[in-house]
């Protein structure tokens, strides 16, 4: 019989290996699931881990999914390190898409656009995401309201707001009453960075965000203060580090990044406002942040894995006859696996005599 025994000190090696084990454990669970559902597990694994990256086209599609996941996960890494449990990034993404999309549609008359205009639209999306995150930060700061529940409730509100706009004021007058906006014209769309693919500038922005996030957390005093507040609130108070500042900094940063992720979806792969601008990237990014060890560089790898899950889910419909929703199942299993593997950071398995 196995038993858990507390390690004298947490294992640094396990802290890094745990995400790898978690991914492997998820794969094992996936194989069991495929067999249980009567699918060929080899084909199943190939659909999720080989087919998405078999050519340039595949890699670029992975990149399209990495962009929003990575942007948000960097923001969430900062939030969670500050012990601010913002789980409503999905709402911040949606509002970013709304504000950015609305500004874009306002200026877009079928021509014009260009770098300056795209920058303006991106900033509008960023501001929208920040404003949405600011509501949660304000209610937590001023009224002590639980940020988990408030930020999550605001996701539903944001989605309804988007639905309201695409059914009403922003609906394409020539769109046969479909609940969606006009298509943005080419001058307003993010430029592609690889010809012949859909990989857009958002991917580069996400990589830059990851680098800046690393600089902030590892090389800046503000980032240090924020993390001390998260790990040891009493010590932070004693040192005079403001917990309010950590709350606002982390929430606004995450809101900004989620907002950019949202508007980049509108200016990238979607090209217009539709009732649903995200297949749950804001929630998936929570898992990405944890699997990436809340490290702005670690999340690059985990967002890649998560992107594979998304593409695999899309492919499994045609290749395996399994609905797309299988992605959500794997997302949940991945987070469970990580939490279980993380136990081994503080404990070791011993044979009970």
């Amino acid at each position: 019989m196995l038993k858990l025994e507390k390690r004298p000190s947490p294992s640094a090696l396990m802290a890094w290996l745990s995400p790898v084990f978690a991914v492997l454990l998820t794969v094992v669970c996936g194989v069991i699931l495929f067999v249980a559902l009567g699918k060929n597990p080899v084909t199943g694994l190939a659909v999720f881990f080989l087919e998405p990256i078999k050519d340039l086209q595949g890699w670029s599609e992975v990149g399209v999914k990495v962009a929003p996941l990575l942007l948000i996960a960097v923001g969430l890494a900062i939030c969670f390190r500050a012990n601010v449990f913002n789980i409503g990034a999905e709402g911040q993404l949606v509002v970013g898409a709304i504000t950015g999309g609305a500004v874009g549609l306002y200026f877009d008359h079928g021509e014009g656009g260009g770098a300056l205009m795209i920058t303006l639209v991106l900033l509008a999306g960023m501001a929208g995401g920040m404003a949405w995150a600011a509501i949660t930060a304000f209610l937590r700061d001023r009224f002590n309201a639980n940020e988990i529940l408030v930020s999550l409730m605001l996701v539903y509100v944001a989605q309804l707001l988007l639905s309201l706009l695409v059914h009403g004021p922003l609906r394409d007058p020539e769109g046969f009453n479909f609940p969606q906006s006009r298509m943005l014209s080419d001058g307003f769309l993010l430029p592609n960075i690889v010809n012949g693919t859909r990989l857009h500038l958002g991917f580069v922005m996400a990589m830059v965000a990851s680098a800046l996030g690393w600089l902030f957390l590892s090389r800046s005093f503000a980032g240090y203060r924020l993390q001390v507040g998260g790990m040891a609130p009493a010590a932070a108070r004693y040192a005079g580090f403001s917990s309010r500042k950590a709350l606002w900094t982390s929430m606004l940063t995450c809101g900004a990044l989620a907002g950019v992720a949202g508007v980049a979806e509108v200016l990238g792969p979607i090209g217009q406002l539709t009732p649903s601008v995200s297949p749950g990237y804001g929630f998936a990014a929570i898992i990405v942040a944890y699997v990436g060890r809340l490290h702005p560089v670690g999340v690059v790898f985990s967002s890649f894995i998560m992107a594979l899950f998304y593409i695999g889910g899309e492919l499994s419909q045609s290749r395996l006859g399994m609905p797309n929703a299988i992605t959500g199942v794997f997302q949940g299993i991945l987070l469970f696996s990580l939490l279980a593997c993380d136990v081994l950071i503080h404990y070791q398995l011993k044979l009970r005599k």
């Binding site: 789980i87 309201a145 529940l149 639905s163 609905p323 929703a325 997302q331």
Partner: protein, 308 residues
Amino acid sequence: MDASMSTVAPLVAASINAGTPLMLAALGLLINEKSGVVNLGAEGMMLVAAIVGFATAVHTESVTLGFVAAAGAGMLLAGFFALMTVWLGTNQYATGLALSLFGTGASAYIGISYVGHSLENPKFAVPFLSDIPFIGTALFRQHPMVYLSLLLCGAIIWFLYRSRAGLVLRAVGESPSSAHALGYNVRLIRLAALLFGGACCGLAGAFMSLVYTPLWVEGMVAGRGWIALALTTFATWRPARVLVGAYLFGGVTIMTFHAQGLGVSIASQWLAMLPYLATIVVLVLISTNATWIKLNMPASLGKNFHPH
């Protein structure tokens, strides 16, 4: 009976109907939290239970079996949550979140082949009482589960404040180390509390898909699991206040459906936002007084306990 009375009675009935899944889930979560464990997986458990209950009812043509299967599904997921948090000591918030994400995905996956099925919504009436004007329509034509949930609320009040076992449960939530020192098995007590919470969330989910809207739609719980979590705080962990809060929220939900019928010309999305906004307002109002929350909150809430 005048005209306004005859329109109000069905609204009261509908509000109680809409409040029932919230109350069932929140009562279960209240028991969890009284033992010191917060389970953010409520939404996921409700969704899985909703589809399991619905699928069972479709195949067996028995709504009762649907409720039983749903409670079982809720308990299964809650048992897994207990294994993770109580035995492996994983973070309660992250584990609950994982359960909610998993439940959302799993229910969508299972539910694909049940989209488009529907169950009939039989009419119920308590003999004699349902014929009383106004009150009969408002209170005595509900699904039996509504009355069961009221019984449950009463039973929980008795259990928590009048029974020895309830005292032990509260002791575990306030100070697990003291309870442990007195010889109580904190882990088993928390497991029992979590299983009960899972069963309640399961019944709540099944109420959604079997009674409230007898069909399956992906994500049909629509945040009620999270609202139920907020309700426990709103109720400052008192079962009677959960009941009041749940019916109030039920009322808000029903108002949003009927506002347009009453001549309010406003986009349906604005109205649909109301329950979520109301949750935020309620959280803000209740949380402003931090000391009051602190006095009422189980002291070990969210903290894991490792017996040595």
